[in-house]
Symmetry: C2
DNA sequence: ACTCGTTTTTGTAACGTTTCAATCAGGCTC
DNA sequence: GAGCCTGATTGAAACGTTACAAAAACGAGT
């Protein structure tokens, strides 16, 4: 494979000149530059990223580690980040931790040997001390997405989770629901805790009481959500509407509903966080709180670039993005509502 | 950041020894190795991939370029490839071409500067001469996935597309359908052509005639599929069942069906290629020809590894994987079938 | 004790770039 | 025509590793 020396020889210039046309093109006279470029073309020369990264002390690589690339949220995120990074001349190294923190840590080590220039991390699970030190060892700027880790001083891009929880719940209340189930993630995660807070706030605002029996932790996963939903449906007084706080759990909930032969929204209403690309194509047509995923990816990359360029310094900035309510047919009036009007208070 | 020299100094050995414990651990005595490892630990030393790739003439990087990471087929593929690669000590560089061949070519150039050791490519669109030469310039083994490119002598892993087309169609025929629409990709792509061939073969085997008016090219994309489906439904004698030859088009078709207020399978039956993770959770519960995606990814990586190890040489091998039929409720008997029995031939 | 194989260890030259100080070639000014 | 300035070009020293040949250490066999 052709090297810079070969190009220099063919164009009859020094290697330094070739390097100059590659990097600071304006420092070399037009005629020479043209000659050099012709030589490169002829030899189909491609610079060696390794050598370059060795000499300059940067690799042009940005790491992106996500929990599950199979989740549309993360694949969209990757797409957005990759596009934005390409525009800035960076290459994105995607790491999929499969939601296992050991894998994630292995990836962080790998990224260190690659000498990435910066990292965008969608942390899986809670902060471990171990991970914090791995991040520090990276010695590069880090931007968190989706889940913030307070106290480490990193930049972050997150959804306004409280508001997301509030709006979803409010929407169900507006349809007339009074018993609203919540299928949530573990409340040790800030994300889940805030969504729960929004849910409670909306209940409070509507003068409804909070019933702990209606909220379940399904770990942000599909299978447990299905199970949790089954339990909620088996309650003596089951909820008439469900709010699931991420896309996987929304699917799990829909599955449980379908398995019991219930129709949506006739028998039960449903709203989730994260819109899904096929949501309008199938039944129930899922209503959702959409996250501006692309914008989040772009914002995260922009923060990183500003850190790298030195135009941003000091303690971590957190960018809060606003959710967007997408109403489709999975939310409707509760069946009870209609009949309850003319029904006596206690029928046992 | 600590270098190999620092480690050597601290452990009081030569740099060569440090390098040896890193690479060929058995060539160095246990006690020294321990000392060196302790020093590495203390300095939290991490080798520099760039320098390494410069000196050894390999980077430990494998490129994977796909058309659309947002498509579950490709995100599953990535997951499988990454897992398998990690087990062999390789890191996967994912490139998302967004189905645009210019992006794909830019990515191939990028991968060349990264000096990847091998490439797994799910080619988007048809073979261009330009791309063929870019691939050749890479000077590394290439394995094609999903779509083969004949004549270039590369290894490939593909689905038995003819059989997939055959089985899907056969299934619909078995339900009693006689007018089966085909929403396919462009038949310049081998994949699409073979699926079409399987479709025709199944019709023939059942003594049904092939009606070109019932087949549409929707470019393997959702939006055009929705459009194509609308056209099929507007036909004077619309099909009673549809076979869509990939997941995006299946969604598009489902959307068109839903938009017209038709029920599935009561009004129309539906089967697609590529199973979807949420297929059982929503209605219609989509039947599908599932591709063994993980196995395909693993097979592709295995081929690549064998090429790299030199245990496989000579002309390209093509591995053909078998599809698996997953029947859910989106296939049923045609409505016409029931009433047509007692109905006169022409009712206008 | 001495020579020979083995096994460990080491010095050092690459690998392909960039950087930086140094040289060179013109063109101005006086 | 000498002196200077400016901008283009270049030589050579890194950057952190590995590979290879050479040196050292170690036993074993005489």
């Amino acid at each position: 494979m052709a090297t810079i020396r070969d190009v220099a020889r063919l164009a009859d210039v020094s290697v330094a000149t070739v390097s100059n046309v590659l990097n600071s093109a304006d420092r070399v006279s037009p005629e020479l530059a043209a000659r050099v470029r012709a030589a490169m073309e002829k030899l189909s020369f491609t610079p060696h990223a390794g050598a370059r990264s060795l000499r300059k002390r940067s690799s042009g690589l940005i790491g992106l580690v996500v929990g599950d690339i199979t989740n549309p949220f993360f694949s969209d995120l990757f797409e957005a980040v990759e596009d934005a990074a390409a525009a800035c001349g960076y290459l994105v190294l995607l790491c999929n931790s499969n939601e296992r923190s050991e894998r994630e840590e292995a990836h962080l080590r790998m990224l260190r040997t690659q000498r990435i220039d910066g990292l965008i991390l969608a942390p899986t699970g809670a902060v471990s001390m171990n991970r914090a030190s791995l991040l520090a060892q990276l010695e590069v700027p880090v931007v968190l997405v989706d889940r913030a880790m307070e106290g480490l001083g990193y930049d972050a891009v997150v959804l306004d989770n409280r508001r997301a929880g509030f709006e979803a719940t409010q929407q169900l209340i507006a349809c007339g629901h009074r018993r609203i189930g919540l299928v949530n993630g573990p409340d040790v995660l800030r994300t889940a805790a805030e969504r729960l807070a929004g849910y409670r706030e909306a209940l409070l605002a509507a003068g409804l009481s909070f019933d702990p029996a209606l909220v379940r932790d399904a770990g942000f996963r599909q299978q447990p959500a299905e199970q949790a939903m089954a339990e909620l449906l088996a309650l003596p007084e089951p909820p008439t509407a469900i709010f699931a706080t991420n896309n996987l759990m929304t699917i799990g909930v829909a599955k449980a509903v379908a398995d019991r032969g219930l129709a949506c929204p006739q028998d039960i209403s449903l709203i989730g966080i994260d819109d899904l690309p096929w949501a309008a194509a199938v039944s129930p047509q899922l209503s959702a709180i959409a996250q501006p995923v692309r914008a989040m990816g772009e914002a995260a990359l922009a923060l990183l670039i500003r850190r790298l360029a030195g135009t941003l310094s000091g303690p971590g900035t957190t960018i809060v993005m606003e959710p967007r309510l997408v109403i489709r047919r999975s939310c409707g009036a509760p069946a009870q509502e209609l009949s309850a009007a003319g029904k006596p208070a206690h029928v046992d």
